[in-house]
């Protein structure tokens, strides 16, 4: 019978392989830490208050901006203007902001643009603002490309949006500002054009619209985009991993096809895990450099979700396949795991629906947010809570199964001293390597979690005079990304069926075991299954 490679690999070879993979891991971490910049960049833009003198306010060909030819006439809101009405006021945000005497423009490498609104509401002892109010925003987004004249802004999208405004204040003193919550304003999945312009109006179309927001002094918009350098490093990593995983997948499938039997469930799962990783690795972001693909954010979410779903299912089945002790006859199939897998499916589906409701609709209207209406908030919360419950149930299942496997193994271990020495050594080896892989999984998961927490803690202690040269956040992302790639790579390598006939091993201790082979597998094998599974199944019969 054949085993998997991990069972037949000598300790030294395993050590060499593990060292090599660890080296790759360190390289991934260092690339992120030393080459890549921060994952995202923010620019905080203070709105220029422009005076709109036109009669028709709905004209979307009229744009207000503060730089370049045809810039608007500005107004100081600090003074009272009796000749102005709220309809004449436009807050203009021209992005990106110039620096170092240059006009910057967005590069397509910067991938996406997220806008967050911050209102500066001034405190007046005579009129205090309610802690919760609704603000209505008429937002219009325009774009322009390099080489276009300064005033040739073209409408990208426009929308009238409602947002909730939560304000409180610690120091109740004149001239102080309320601490108002930030308001998510828009999300662009693609940064296709060079310049963007946001015009914001606060309309008063009905008597109670925008009247409870208090004395608005300034509006700030923080625009967040992915850093070009980070995209480059990230895409390079993807481009490097993609062919590697494809190659190892082909090799893996070839090995299975060389066997006389059909692939078992675990092998099928490994294959689908590899494929989903390939989907995640596929560097389709290169297309965004040429085409306008606003669905990239959504697609990225879906690809990640698919990968997580397969990974979680794989762990379940991996544990389950090493526990099926009762029925030795039938080939295990996915159907047996439907109860366990339904938790994964439920979590993924609810997250998918949530994502479609938020980012899916944002494809049509970048200003859309599900969190604004009560119905939307409840809906979103329902899906998120459902996903949370599913994750909880899943982990309970998984822990229970892993615990059962370990109980099983330790139970069978008690039988080991009665076996002959060579067989015992072999069994112990298998158990050791099984545990080794369990350990690897736990280690990867733990490292991810610890890295994440460390990142949050390190970020919390915001310092100005950082002397550390390492860009931790980027290092964490590239490190974790590399780690899971390496993890799956090693799974595919180590769990591929071995070509060595088990007894004919160069290993000195194993070559003597020819005679024991019959004793080792007394049950007629109808299918070649991994010897670890067979060991457990056989042991129960013993």
């Amino acid at each position: 019978m054949t085993g998997t490679i991990i069972e037949n690999l000598s300790g030294r070879k395993l050590a060499v392989l593990v060292t090599l993979l660890l080296l790759c891991q360190v390289i991934c971490f260092l690339i992120g830490g030393l080459v890549a910049p921060m994952p995202a960049n923010t620019q905080t833009i203070l709105g220029t208050v422009c005076k709109d003198t036109s009669v028709m306010k709905n004209d979307t060909s009229k744009w207000f901006y503060n730089r370049g030819k045809g810039s608007c006439q500005t107004v100081d809101l600090g003074e009272t203007h009796h000749d102005l009405s709220e309809r004449d006021i436009v807050f203009a945000f021209q992005m990106p902001v110039p620096r170092e005497g240059e006009r910057f423009d967005y590069s397509r490498w910067q991938q996406n643009l997220i806008g967050v609104l911050q209102l500066d509401v001034r405190y007046h002892s005579q009129m205090e603002v309610k802690p919760r109010s609704t603000v209505t925003i008429d937002a219009r987004l325009a774009y322009r490309n390099k080489g276009d004249p300064d005033d040739e802004w073209k409408l990208y999208t426009q929308s009238i949006e409602k947002r909730n405004l939560d304000c409180d204040i610690d120091v109740k003193s004149e001239e102080y500002l309320y601490n108002c919550s930030t308001i998510p304003l828009f999300e662009l999945g693609s940064l296709y054009h060079d310049y963007y312009l946001l015009n914001i109006r606060l309309p008063v179309n009905t008597p109670d619209m925008n009247v409870h927001i208090g004395h608005l002094q300034d509006i700030w918009v923080t625009v967040i985009n992915q850093n070009g350098g980070f995209t480059k490093v990230w895409l390079s990593l993807k481009t490097a991993f993609f062919p590697c995983i494809i190659a190892i997948l082909v090799w893996f499938w070839n090995r299975i096809h060389m066997l006389e039997r059909k692939p078992v469930l675990l092998e099928k799962m490994l294959l689908s895990l590899g494929i989903s990783l390939c989907l995640l690795n596929a560097p389709i972001e290169y297309l965004t450099l040429q085409y306008d693909l606003p669905f990239m954010l959504l697609l990225g979410d879906i690809r990640q979700g698919l990968f997580y779903a397969t990974l979680f299912s794989f762990w379940l089945i991996f544990a389950g396949e090493h526990m099926l002790i009762q029925d030795t006859s039938s080939q295990s199939s996915l159907k047996q795991y439907w109860r366990h897998l339904s938790a994964v499916a439920m979590g993924c589906v609810s997250l998918f629906i949530f994502d479609m409701c938020e980012r899916g609709i944002q494809l049509r209207n970048p200003f859309y947010s599900i969190w604004v209406t009560d119905l939307g908030t409840n809906l979103a919360l329902t899906f998120i809570i459902l996903a949370g419950i599913s994750t909880g149930v899943y982990f309970l299942f998984l822990c229970y199964m892993v615990w059962k496997v370990f109980k099983n193994i330790s139970h069978k271990r008690q039988a080991l001293p009665t076996m002959c020495s060579v067989r015992r050594l072999h069994y112990e080896g298998i158990i050791y390597r099984f545990k080794f892989l369990m350990l690897a999984t736990l280690l990867c998961a733990a490292l991810t979690v610890i890295g994440f927490i460390l990142g949050q803690v390190a970020e919390g202690q915001w310092k100005w005079d950082e002397t550390i040269e390492l860009e931790y956040t980027s290092a964490f992302f590239t490190g974790v990304y590399g780690m899971w790639n390496i993890y799956i790579f090693s799974l595919l390598v180590l769990y591929a069926p071995s070509h060595k006939r088990w007894p004919v091993n160069e290993n000195t201790s194993d070559t003597q075991n020819l005679s024991e082979e019959i004793e080792f597998s007394p049950i007629p094998e109808r299918s070649e299954i991994s010897s670890l599974t067979s060991f457990i199944r056989k042991a129960t019969i013993d």
Binding site: T44, T48, T74, R99, G101, E175, E187, G228, R359
Partner: protein, 353 residues
């Protein structure tokens, strides 16, 4: 001796030339934009009290004069607000080259506060102008891209307050003589002012990971209102340290500030320091530009600085009954109006003799 240790004089120059008093930030219409910008650059040259380095900085951008003006104007307003209850109420003097008269000739607490506030106010104004995109020269700090000196598109820029601080350091500190005692004190206080801005910034974060989760998070910081900075500095003013300049190492000419009494706490970088006691602000002094506290309104019930006993310097006060008008029941009407009712009442009004 250098009579203009800070850049407040700009403000006064604009007063005397009647360009804008108080300074209005309202833009001229865009038709005359080009003539306006040359005018702005010329005006940098005309500001005689600026040292060469300050003129260079002023000419960096068309809007720089305006930003400097805003900074100065806001600092004066804040100073007057903070000292509204003190014997010296940050009063400005017309028709003088120095805006506060000669009050800042003393290396006093007040001088320390004014320096810190002016440095802070300039940093604040420049940072705001950068955020508005008015100043093209705002630097894209190299710190962010130290290892990879590439374009903004590679790694982004630092926060605007960094440039504000840098500019303030460059501009305000350019006047100071690092050798003189006064210079050392002013440099310390300028830095303390800038740190007060930095220290009051608020951190804001946004999650933008998978499905909007916090697996990816980005943070930035909000500029505080200048009033909050001035309040913080005002607290520092009350706890300012009286120091002396000591030669640290003989021959090497390193001079440091040490507390005047060895048992007092050593001032740190955010503390204000002063070298001399304040002059007497009770009596008017034309030469120094001190108006005195005569005819100032005081609060009879207060035991603090604005109380009649302290404010009137023991000269006593007169009480008059006056019709008091006050804005009340205000309602803000977006965008540009505050509707208030006027409430009238009769109140006692105490005035120092």
């Amino acid at each position: 001796m250098n009579m203009f240790p800070n850049y407040f004089v700009i403000h006064c120059l604009f007063c005397s030339r009647n360009l804008a008093a108080p300074v209005k930030t309202t833009q001229s219409s865009n038709t005359s934009l080009e003539t306006y910008s040359t005018l702005q650059k010329e005006s940098c040259h005309r500001l005689d009290f600026l040292v060469e380095r300050q003129k260079q900085l002023c000419m960096l951008s068309d809007k720089m004069v305006q930003v400097l003006q805003t900074g100065a104007q806001q600092a004066v307003e804040e100073c007057q607000y903070q000292f509204r209850n003190s014997r010296w109420n940050c009063s400005t003097v017309e028709n003088s080259t120095d805006i506060f008269g000669g009050v800042l000739k003393f290396k006093s607490r007040e001088s320390a506060f004014v320096h810190a506030l002016s440095a802070a106010s300039l940093a604040h104004a420049v940072a705001r102008a950068c955020s508005r995109g008015e100043l093209n020269e705002c630097s894209c700090d190299a710190r962010v891209r130290k290892r990879t000196p590439r374009h903004w598109q590679w790694g982004g820029c630092s926060e605007d307050i960094r440039y504000g601080e840098k500019f303030s350091r460059d501009f305000v500190d350019a006047k100071e003589d690092k050798e003189s005692e006064e210079g050392i004190m002013n440099l310390h206080n300028n830095e303390a002012g800038r740190r007060a801005v930095r220290g009051r910034m608020q951190r804001v974060c946004k999650c933008h990971g998978m499905s909007g989760s916090c697996s990816v998070r980005v943070c930035w910081r909000r500029l505080p209102p200048l009033r909050a900075v001035a309040d913080a500095l005002s607290t520092r003013y009350e706890g300012a340290s009286h120091v002396k300049v000591v030669e640290r190492k003989k021959g090497k000419n390193i001079r440091k500030l040490r507390p005047i009494h060895p048992d007092m706490k050593k001032p740190n970088k955010t503390d204000l320091v002063y070298l001399e006691e304040s002059p007497d602000y009770c009596e008017p002094n034309e030469e120094l530009g001190i108006l005195g506290t005569r005819s100032r309104t005081c609060n009879r019930t207060s035991a603090g600085l604005d109380g009649c006993r302290l404010l009137c310097c023991g000269r006593g006060y007169q009480t008059r009954v006056r019709d008091h008008e006050e804005k009340c029941r205000c309602r803000f009407v977006w965008c540009c109006r505050v509707h208030c009712e006027i409430c009238r009442s009769k109140r006692d009004h105490h005035v120092c003799n």
